[in-house]
């Protein structure tokens, strides 16, 4: 195929050529970045929590009136007993929070008492001796809390438990040698000893501000006994979740009616917790997907429209070429090559634009650098799209009969 005659023909259609190339460049830049954003969001929302999600649900219980801390603690223990006796329940625990909840208690961990900067941030989970089993966490070193170690405290007390269990991520950060169990660390209220290490437990927030300590959690052997209330986390036997969720609220009210459990979100399955936590990530991913598809369709439609116009304009030339012996294949190849040349110019400019756009987003929206795979993928998609879009008009051009050469218009 001769490229030179195509180029000289294109020189006569500067505006049209430029517009198609520009459109391909812009589409490439947007689609590449959109696909990259989708990838990041999807990767984010499939991060594991480390807990037995399918069988867990959460009850948010608030107390009415002003019972004291000791009274609240007694009521919490009664409630846990009530829940444990329900059919289908495997285990129950109470905490101030749970993974993916959105917010809660975060604190700085220090290795020495007089240290100025924290060694690491960490999510604080309050727990009793059932916490690790209920959530389905895997203990990889040390031991679980004993029942007699579990205290109870109000928000007003200092956070200074004698022992804690930490996640592997936090242990590795604090003690890279891998010998965290038995070591002393400093919470805001004072020193404490690490007695156990669990493999994986996600933080309560998946927002960007919490990403520095995403899997660094500390489990505190205390029941948080505030009048404001706390959470009951229930693990059911497989397949029984719905039945237990319905029965749980009723059983609690039957035992003690002086409480508030919200109708809308007082009882939440972990399935719902997860979909709420990642709402915006999923929304953005879907939006980017829709925009990419529509954008590709618009670009394809534009190529079809302009090429059709060129074919119509050049019917006579095509006829002449056919009369001079060009086969239908030659004509088809001519238009396909023409489009390939324009597309190549477009994707070249588009690559530069895509990288520029990504760099701008890195500074403005805390994005990551665009990976090369997405750029190559985008280039291939757009070249194929161009060839696909030009095929129908090119086919029509190839059907122009040689006799067209003799027509006046």
């Amino acid at each position: 195929m001769q490229i030179k005659p195509i180029l000289s023909a294109l020189r006569r259609h500067k505006a049209g050529t430029f517009l198609i190339a520009l459109q391909i460049a812009l589409t490439l830049a947007i689609v590449c970045n959109a696909l990259f954003i989708i990838h990041q969001r999807v990767a984010h929302l499939s991060e594991p929590t480390g807990i037995d999600e399918p069988n867990l649900f959460v009850i948010q219980n608030e107390w009415v009136g002003t019972p004291g801390t000791d009274r609240v603690d007694a009521m919490i223990r009664e409630d846990l007993q009530v829940l444990r006796q329900l059919p289908g329940v495997q285990d129950v625990t109470t905490s101030n929070s749970y993974p993916l909840r959105g917010g809660g208690w975060d604190d700085g961990i220090k290795l020495k008492p007089d240290q100025l900067q924290d060694t690491s941030g960490a999510t604080i989970y309050f727990a009793d001796e059932h916490f690790i089993d209920t959530l389905g966490l895997k203990l990889i070193a040390g031991r679980n809390f004993r029942a007699d170690e579990i205290g109870h405290m109000d928000m007003r007390y200092k956070l200074a438990p004698p022992t804690v269990v930490v996640t592997k991520a936090l242990a590795d950060k604090l003690f890279p040698a891998g010998d965290a169990v038995g070591k002393t660390i400093y919470l805001i209220g004072g020193p404490t000893t690490i007695v156990g290490e669990v493999e994986l437990l996600q933080a309560q927030s998946v927002e960007r501000w919490a990403s520095d300590f995403a899997y660094r959690s500390v489990i505190i052997p205390e029941r948080l006994s505030m009048t404001l209330g706390s959470f009951y986390i229930v693990r059911t036997r497989p397949g029984q979740q719905e039945a237990v969720m319905r029965a749980a609220g009723k059983a609690l009210f039957a035992h003690n009616p002086r409480r508030v459990i919200n109708d809308e979100d007082g009882v939440l399955s972990f399935h719902d917790v997860r979909s709420r936590a990642y709402e915006s990530d999923r929304g953005i991913a879907i939006l980017m997907g829709v925009i990419s598809v529509v954008l590709l369709a618009v670009t394809a439609a534009g190529i079809v429209g302009l090429t059709s116009f060129w074919v119509g304009q050049r019917r006579r030339q095509i006829g002449v070429r056919r009369a001079l012996g060009a086969t239908r294949r030659d004509i088809l190849k001519y238009f396909m090559t023409e489009n390939l040349l324009i597309s190549c110019a477009g994707v070249l400019a588009g690559t530069v634009l895509a990288i520029a756009m990504n760099l701008w987003m890195v500074t403005r929206f805390e994005m990551h650098r665009l990976s090369l795979a997405y750029l190559i993928g985008g280039v291939v998609i757009l070249l194929l799209l161009g060839q696909g879009a030009v095929f129908a008009p090119a086919l029509r051009a190839s059907r122009v009969p040689p006799v067209e050469a003799t027509r006046s218009v």
């Binding site: 009136g65 200092k158 404001l228 954008l295 618009v298 670009t299 116009f309 060129w310 403005r364």
Partner: protein
């Protein structure tokens, strides 16, 4: 002449429906996407108190110790009880209010309504006139009631409807946390967006249902919500929140002139210096006095995702416009013969140009109408999302006008190049080739 060109435009558009539909659809998609996102951005970055926001300021001082001190770092986002009360009682501003958020258990008198928790605001008396809060019944509490830790409460219209069936409930009793409060005021509909005075308890949250004097809330230990940031020996001890080295309150002032703003800033420096000399503050005076809108900016109240979407939508509109330019170019140039005849019959370049521009204007109008429908559909989808700002996403009159200006303006701009190219046709050549 205009109507004649309009008529020509309509005929021309009807002649090639596929191409016309393609152009209109491209514009509609671009406009629909950008208007949906622009409306959300417009709603979210709006002024919560038009007319009053220019006089409201959020004083920031730095009461922390030398731990983790870095030169030039911003002061904390909130104030301690001691500093808040000092500044409140100093009365150096035209108005000032100290507040925090919370949650109170409401125990209705009627046995038919179960007890429930309600979002509350504990604040001082200037809150209401300062933020132009509208009253349906009754009045706000006074400074004397603040000082006396009075058991009075102002409730929202929504709560008044729930508990008292919407009747004037001033003088009635409301039980909260086993304490009887006297209702002295009922608010009218009030929902400033964003929830500017306390961004921590929900950026676009509805305003609270229960308003109690701050002093009263401390007196009976109503639970407080929102972040508490402590340093040194502070531990968020609720019983001694008044003396703990923790920031947990928001303090707002109203300053009616630029001179007062400058004077207030000086007062803050002076106050910090004085506290430093007394040994309470460890750091050198570090004060800021951002205005309301500036404060929203500092807090990046508009979610980054929304900005990202808006940029993306405008990129999308740009591609749609480039597409339309290409299609229009093809369409106009195809009519070279017709335009040649018109030129030969005496139409000037200018007139042909006008005619073609009007044609693109018509495409823009049609695209704008389509885009409006798509924007309505898009906003409906946004409202079905559970984020706290979702319910606010409505198209107002300004946005409606913007839609058409954007649609027609951008299409006219897109039509410039094709129309100009079409004008360059030499009449004689066209006639000859016929």
């Amino acid at each position: 002449m205009f109507t004649y060109y309009l008529d020509l435009a309509m005929r021309s558009l009807r002649r090639n429906t596929m191409l016309t539909a393609l152009m209109v659809l491209a514009i509609a998609l671009g406009i629909g996407a950008s208007m949906t996102t622009l409306t959300v951005l417009h709603v979210l970055s709006g002024d919560p108190l038009p007319g009053a926001s220019g006089t409201l300021f959020y004083p920031r001082i730095d009461p922390r110790d030398m731990d983790a001190y870095e030169e030039g770092k911003d002061p904390p986002y909130q104030v301690t009880w001691i500093d808040g009360m000092n500044m409140l009682h100093a009365k150096r501003a035209d108005r000032q209010a100290l507040m925090t958020g919370g949650s109170v258990p409401v125990q209705p008198a009627q046995s038919s309504v179960d007890p429930f928790y309600s979002d509350a605001r504990y604040t001082s008396s200037d809150f209401f006139p300062m933020f132009r809060v509208p009253f349906l019944y009754g009045r706000p509490w006074s400074v004397e009631e603040d000082d006396a830790k009075a058991r009075v409460v102002v409730i929202s219209r929504k709560l008044n409807e729930k508990l008292f069936g919407g009747k004037d409930s001033t003088g009635q009793t409301l039980r909260m946390k086993d304490t009887a409060f006297r209702v002295i005021g009922v608010l009218d509909e009030w929902r400033p967006n964003p929830h500017f005075y306390d961004i921590d308890t929900g950026r676009y949250a509805a305003s609270e249902d229960v308003f109690v004097p701050l002093t009263t809330s401390r007196d009976i230990r109503l639970e407080h919500d929102g972040s508490t940031d402590c340093w040194g020996t502070g531990g968020g001890d609720e019983d001694h929140a008044e003396t703990q080295p923790c920031v947990w309150l928001q303090f707002w002032v109203q300053l009616d002139s630029a001179a007062k703003v400058a004077a207030y800033k000086e007062y803050l420096v002076h106050y910090s210096q004085e506290q430093h000399d007394l040994g309470r503050f460890m750091r050198a005076p570090n004060v800021q006095l951002p205005g309301l809108m500036e404060w929203l900016d500092i807090n990046k109240v508009v979610p980054g995702d929304v900005r990202l979407q808006t940029w993306l939508a405008f990129g999308f509109l740009l591609v749609c416009l480039v597409n339309t330019i290409g299609l229009m170019l093809a369409k106009f140039l195809r009519r070279a013969g017709e335009l040649g005849v018109r030129r030969a019959l005496g139409a000037s370049k200018r007139e042909v140009f006008m005619q073609l521009l009007i044609e693109s204007g018509v495409i823009g109008l049609a695209g704008g109408l389509g885009g409006l429908l798509l924007a309505f559909a898009g906003l409906w989808l946004v409202r079905r999302q559970p984020s706290d700002y979702a319910s606010l996403a409505h198209l107002d009159l300004a946005m409606l006008l913007t839609t058409f200006v954007l649609a027609i303006g951008s299409t006219l701009l897109a039509g410039l190049l094709p129309a100009w190219r079409a004008c360059q046709i030499t009449p004689a050549l066209q006639l000859k080739s016929q």
